[in-house]
C-alpha cells in the first residue's frame, strides 16, 4: 500500500519528465532545423531538389484550391460584417473589423490548419515509417545527414507553404474587403489606405509575420518530432501520427491564443 502510494508520484514525475523531454526535443529539433535551414551549405544540388519538391507538394499544389476556398470564405465573412455594421449604423468600423478578423487572425490560422491537415499528417506518417524502417540509420551509414536530406526540406516546405498561402489569401482578402466596402469605385482608396495603415502598425505587422512563421514551422516540426520519438515498432506508427497531430493542433491553438492575448490584452 505504502509502496503503491509512493509509486503514483513517481509515475507522475516520470510522465512529466517524459512530457517535458518531448517538448524539449520539439524545440531542439525546431532550432536545429532553423539553423540548418539558414546555413547555405544545406542547399547543395541534391538538397535543393528535395526542398523544391517539398515546396511543390505542400504549397504549389494546394495554392489554387486554398486560394479559391479562402476567397469564398472571405467574401461571405466580409458581406456578413458589412451588412451587420450597416444595419447597426457602424459602417465606418466595418473595414477595420474585416481586416483585423480576416487578415490578422482567420487566414493565417486557416492556412496553417489546411497545411497541417494536408501535409502535416503526411509528413508525420512518412517520417514515422522511415524512422521505424531504419532509413535514417541507413542514410547516416551512407554518409548522408538525414536531417538535411529528408527533414529540413519538409520543414522549409511547410513553412513556405503556410506563409505563401497566408500571403496570397491575405492579399486577396484585402482586395475583397475593399470591393465589399467601397464597391468598384477608386475613390475609397484614400480612406482604405488610412484604415489599413491604422490596423497594420509595427507590432501587429511583426506579430503577424512571426505568428505565420511559427505556424509554418509547427506544422512540420511537431509531426517530425512526434515521429522520431516513436519506438521503432510498426504497430506504433498510427500512435505517432495521432500524437503528432494532436500536439500540432494544440500548438496552433496555443499560438493563436497567445497572439490574440498579446494584441488585445
Amino acid at each position: 500500500m505504502h509502496r503503491e502510494l509512493l509509486r503514483i508520484p513517481g509515475e507522475l514525475g516520470t510522465a512529466f519528465l517524459e512530457w517535458a523531454a518531448s517538448w524539449w526535443r520539439v524545440f531542439h529539433f525546431g532550432a536545429l532545423a532553423l539553423v540548418v535551414a539558414f546555413s547555405p551549405a544545406t542547399y547543395d544540388k541534391e538538397n535543393r531538389s528535395v526542398t523544391a519538391k517539398q515546396i511543390y507538394f505542400t504549397a504549389w499544389q494546394v495554392l489554387p484550391w486554398f486560394t479559391l476556398l479562402s476567397a469564398l470564405l472571405s467574401m461571405v465573412l466580409i458581406h456578413i460584417v458589412v451588412v451587420t455594421a450597416l444595419s447597426y449604423g457602424l459602417s465606418q468600423y466595418a473595414l477595420e473589423m474585416v481586416v483585423r478578423v480576416l487578415v490578422l487572425e482567420l487566414i493565417p490560422l486557416t492556412a496553417a490548419l489546411f497545411v497541417a491537415l494536408r501535409s502535416g499528417a503526411a509528413i508525420n506518417t512518412e517520417v514515422a515509417l522511415m524512422h521505424i524502417r531504419g532509413d535514417f540509420d541507413a542514410m547516416r551509414r551512407a554518409g548522408t545527414d538525414p536531417l538535411r536530406r529528408e527533414l529540413v526540406p519538409r520543414v522549409i516546405g511547410s513553412a513556405v507553404s503556410v506563409v505563401a498561402l497566408a500571403a496570397v489569401s491575405g492579399v486577396i482578402a484585402l482586395l475583397l474587403a475593399y470591393i465589399g466596402v467601397y464597391g468598384f469605385s477608386p475613390w475609397g482608396l484614400a480612406g482604405y489606405t488610412r484604415t489599413v495603415g491604422q490596423v497594420f502598425d509595427l507590432q501587429v505587422t511583426l506579430g503577424l509575420a512571426l505568428k505565420t512563421l511559427l505556424f509554418g514551422l509547427a506544422v512540420a516540426v511537431i509531426p517530425i518530432t512526434a515521429s522520431l520519438e516513436t519506438p521503432r515498432e510498426l504497430r506504433l506508427a498510427p500512435v505517432a501520427v495521432l500524437r503528432g497531430m494532436v500536439r500540432l493542433f494544440l500548438v496552433l491553438a496555443l499560438l493563436e491564443g497567445a497572439s490574440l492575448a498579446v494584441k488585445y490584452i
Partner: protein
C-alpha cells in the same frame, strides 16, 4: 514489411516552380509592407503638433486628427507632462498642414459609441500657418460624462412622477372629484346637476329657464305691437295726407305769406317815399304858414291851401305807416331814451303851437327832430313831420273849396273836380294831358313829384312819367324819393322781364344807398 517506396514521379520544372512560389510570396509580402508603410505615412514629411488636454481619456495612438471630416494627421504619442496634463503628439503631413493656422481651434469629443474624435476648426484660412512643434490646448467634450447627470435628472423626474401619481396626491384627489361630478352628471338632470351640485338646484334652474322663455314670448308680443304702432306712425307721418304732407303744405303757405309780406313791404316802401315827398311839401307849407301868421299874412290863401293839402296827404301817409311803426316799436323790451324824449318834445311842440307860441313850438320841434335824427330813420322823421303837419292842419280847419279840391286831387278823386280851384301847375294834369308832358310842364320839382305820385296811385303813370319823376328827384339830390322811384322802375323792369334794365337800375339803387362796390 511495407513495400519499397515508389520513386517520386518526375515533376517538370519543380525547382522553377518552387522558386516562382517563393518569389511570388516574397513579392506579395514586400509589396504589402511597402503599402502599409505608405499608408502609415512613412514616406511623408510631417510636422509635429502638440495638443494639451486636462484628460487624455478616449485619445489613443493612431487616431486621426480631422479637419472638415478629412483626416489630416495622426496621433503618434500620448504622454503625461510635468504639470499633470496630457500631451497628445500628432504628426501632420506637410501637404495637409496648410489647413492648420494660428487661429485654429482643436476639440476632442467623445460620443457614446466609438472612439473620441480630435477635430480642427480653422475659421480664417488666410491666417499665418501653424508653426512646427506648436503647442495648442484642446477643448474636450464627452457625451458619456453627461450620462450620470442625465441619470440623476431622470431619477428626480421619476420621483416627481411617482409623487404626482401617488394615492394621496392632489392629482388623484382631483380625479376623485372629477369622478364625483361625472356620477352626478349621470343623473336625471345630467351636466346641470353635475355643475350645480344637486338635483334640486338643477330643477330651480330649469324652472327659471322656463319662466324666462315665457317672459321672452311676452316680450316678443310687445315687440310685435310696437311694430304695428311704428307702421301706423309711419303712415301718419310719411303717408299720403300724413304729417309730412301737411308740413310741406304749411311751408308752401308760409312761403306765400312771406312773399305777400315782401310785396307789402315794397308797397310800404313806395308809400314812405311818397310820405317823404309829402313831408317836404309840408315843410314848405310850414314856411308859408309862418308867413301867414305874420301880421297881414292872411292875404296868402294859396299857400295855406297848399299846406292844408299837404297836411291831409301826410295824415293819410301816417295811417299807412302807423302799422309799420307799431310793429317796429311793439315787443321791445325797454323803450329807449330817444323815444320818450322825442314824444315829450312833440307833445310840447303841439301844446306850444296851439298856444300860439311859435318860437317855443319851433324849438320843441327842433328838439324832437334832433332826437329822432339820432336814430337815422327817415320814417320816424316823417312821422314827426306829420305830427307838425297835423298841428298846422288843425289851424286850417276852416279850409275852403280850394283846399277840398286839392285834397280830392291828391286822393285821386278827380271825377267832377273843379280844375279852376287847383294850383295852376296841376290843372293840365286834370285836363287829361299826357303824363310825361303834364309832368314836364310843372316847373316846381316838388310839385312835379307830387303830381307823379298822384298819377302813380291812380295807375295812370307811364314809364316815361316814372323816369321823369326819378330824374326830378335825382336832379334835386332827393335821395329818398329817388330810391322810391328807382324801386318802382326796378319792379317794372322785373315784371317786363328786362334783366339788363333791372340790373342797371339796381346798380343805381346801390350807388344811391352807398352800397355800391368801389369802381
Amino acid at each position: 514489411m511495407l513495400p519499397e517506396p515508389q520513386p517520386a514521379p518526375l515533376i517538370p520544372h519543380v525547382e522553377f516552380k518552387a522558386a516562382l512560389l517563393l518569389v511570388l510570396t516574397l513579392a506579395l509580402i514586400g509589396g504589402f509592407l511597402a503599402y502599409v508603410m505608405y499608408a502609415r505615412g512613412v514616406f511623408q514629411s510631417t510636422q509635429r503638433l502638440v495638443l494639451v488636454a486636462d484628460d487624455s481619456e478616449g485619445a489613443k495612438v493612431g487616431m486621426d486628427l480631422t479637419f472638415s471630416g478629412f483626416p489630416i494627421g495622426r496621433v503618434q504619442r500620448i504622454e503625461l507632462a510635468e504639470d499633470g496634463k496630457a500631451r497628445i503628439l500628432i504628426d501632420v503631413p506637410s501637404k495637409d498642414a496648410r489647413w492648420l493656422r494660428n487661429s485654429t481651434v482643436f476639440t476632442m469629443e467623445r460620443g457614446l459609441v466609438g472612439d473620441a474624435h480630435i477635430r480642427a476648426f480653422t475659421g480664417v484660412l488666410d491666417d499665418s500657418p501653424l508653426p512646427d512643434a506648436a503647442t495648442r490646448p484642446v477643448l474636450r467634450g464627452d457625451a458619456s460624462a453627461e450620462i450620470p447627470r442625465l441619470m440623476a435628472t431622470a431619477r428626480a423626474l421619476l420621483e416627481n412622477l411617482e409623487r404626482i401619481s401617488g394615492a394621496d396626491s392632489s392629482l388623484s384627489a382631483s380625479l376623485a372629484n372629477v369622478q364625483t361630478v361625472t356620477e352626478r352628471m349621470k343623473g336625471r338632470h345630467g351636466a346641470l346637476a353635475g355643475v350645480l351640485g344637486s338635483e334640486e338646484n338643477a330643477r330651480k334652474v330649469i324652472t327659471a329657464l322656463d319662466r324666462s322663455n315665457a317672459l321672452l314670448a311676452s316680450v316678443g308680443e310687445v315687440s310685435n305691437r310696437l311694430d304695428g304702432i311704428i307702421v301706423k306712425a309711419d303712415e301718419r307721418v310719411f303717408g299720403a295726407a300724413g304729417m309730412m304732407d301737411e308740413t310741406q303744405k304749411a311751408i308752401a303757405q308760409l312761403a306765400a305769406v312771406l312773399r305777400d309780406a315782401r310785396d307789402s313791404l315794397k308797397k310800404a316802401d313806395a308809400v314812405l317815399a311818397e310820405a317823404q315827398a309829402v313831408g317836404a311839401n309840408a315843410r314848405a307849407a310850414t314856411t308859408d304858414l309862418a308867413a301867414l301868421r305874420a301880421p297881414g299874412g292872411r292875404d296868402q290863401p294859396q299857400v295855406a291851401v297848399r299846406a292844408r293839402h299837404a297836411a291831409e296827404a301826410a295824415m293819410r301817409a301816417l295811417f299807412l305807416v302807423a302799422p309799420l311803426l307799431l310793429a317796429a316799436c311793439a315787443g321791445g323790451p325797454v323803450p329807449p331814451d330817444w323815444q320818450g324824449n322825442a314824444q315829450a318834445a312833440l307833445r310840447n311842440f303841439s301844446a306850444a303851437h296851439y298856444a300860439g307860441n311859435t318860437r317855443l313850438a319851433a324849438q320843441e320841434f327842433a328838439r324832437a327832430r334832433a332826437e329822432i335824427a339820432a336814430t337815422g330813420r327817415p320814417d320816424l322823421l316823417a312821422r314827426a313831420e306829420l305830427v307838425r303837419c297835423a298841428a298846422l292842419l288843425a289851424l286850417a280847419a276852416d279850409a275852403g273849396a280850394q283846399e277840398r279840391t286839392y285834397a280830392d286831387f291828391l286822393a285821386g278823386r278827380w271825377h267832377g273836380l273843379d280844375a279852376s280851384l287847383l294850383p295852376a301847375h296841376h290843372r293840365a294834369l286834370l285836363a287829361g294831358a299826357s303824363d310825361a308832358g303834364a309832368l314836364a310842364g310843372i316847373a316846381d320839382p316838388m310839385s312835379r313829384l307830387v303830381a307823379a305820385g298822384v298819377l302813380f296811385r291812380m295807375g295812370r303813370l307811364t314809364p316815361a312819367g316814372i323816369a321823369a319823376a326819378a330824374e326830378t328827384a335825382s336832379a334835386n339830390g332827393w335821395r329818398r324819393p329817388l330810391l322810391a322811384w328807382l324801386g318802382v322802375q326796378a319792379q317794372r323792369a322785373d315784371a317786363a322781364g328786362d334783366g339788363a334794365d333791372a340790373a342797371r337800375i339796381r346798380r343805381r339803387i346801390e350807388i344811391v344807398t352807398g352800397n355800391a362796390a368801389a369802381p
